[in-house]
């Protein structure tokens, strides 16, 4: 079956419109295929809020059309109420300062997904993970 660009665009826009919390990521929440996507999923799961997710990897046009819509170049991208909230840095920062829970309308969890570390350390973990997944 051939899927057209218009159909993909419509699917992307529908998913943003129909899901209050919508995450575009590499892989799935159960099996993220990139450390940045994994970190964002961990933040969302820790808040306990429900979210929908779409894997952008199966067709390169998904990412292209999504980024055209959002004006945001990288993956993951989190949308809440149809608005782009941000990528992995922003979601992590908002998770840590409680703004994510507030935005999602849930209680701020007491546990954090990882120990707050220096920025270099915080970054090396997801990247190491990404390398292992690709290896």
């Amino acid at each position: 079956m051939i899927i057209t660009e218009d159909e993909i665009r419509q699917e992307v826009l529908n998913s943003i419109a129909q899901n209050r919390v919508m995450l575009f990521m590499k892989g799935t929440p159960e099996m993220p295929r990139c450390g940045f996507s994994m970190q964002t999923v961990a933040c969302l799961k820790d808040t306990g809020a429900e979210f929908a997710a779409m894997d952008i990897l199966p067709d390169p046009r998904i990412r292209q059309l999504l980024s055209e819509h959002s004006g945001w170049p990288s993956i993951p991208q989190l949308f809440v109420d149809g608005q782009l909230v941000g990528g992995s840095d922003i979601v992590l920062e908002m998770f840590e300062n409680g703004e994510l829970a507030e935005l999602l309308g849930v209680e701020q969890p007491e546990l954090e997904p990882e120990e707050p570390a220096t920025d270099a350390q915080a970054q090396s973990a997801p990247m190491g993970l990404e390398n292992r997944l690709q290896g």
Binding site: D119, Q123, S124
Partner: protein, 77 residues
């Protein structure tokens, strides 16, 4: 391999009055930018990050000098 000084300069030019520090986190193409700027005041994080990304847009992405740019922003007076 990205030119750190050039990237710092681009961000400073885009955000006059900002304090910018860029470091290499891995391999010369995974960078961390810490930016303090008065322009961030009152903006959501996504818009703050857009201002930083916009300054180095042409260097960012697959096949370009910066593969990933981690950003930390702070609003200054």
């Amino acid at each position: 391999m990205a030119d750190i000084a050039e990237i710092e300069g681009l961000i400073r030019t885009a955000l006059p009055g900002s304090e910018v520090s860029v470091e290499d986190m891995a391999g010369g193409d995974h960078l961390y930018a810490h930016v303090r700027a008065p322009q961030f005041t009152g903006l959501p994080l996504i818009e703050q990050h857009r201002l930083v990304n916009g300054a180095v847009d042409h260097l960012l992405g697959p096949g370009r000098p910066i593969h990933a740019l981690k950003i930390k922003t702070e609003a200054t007076q």
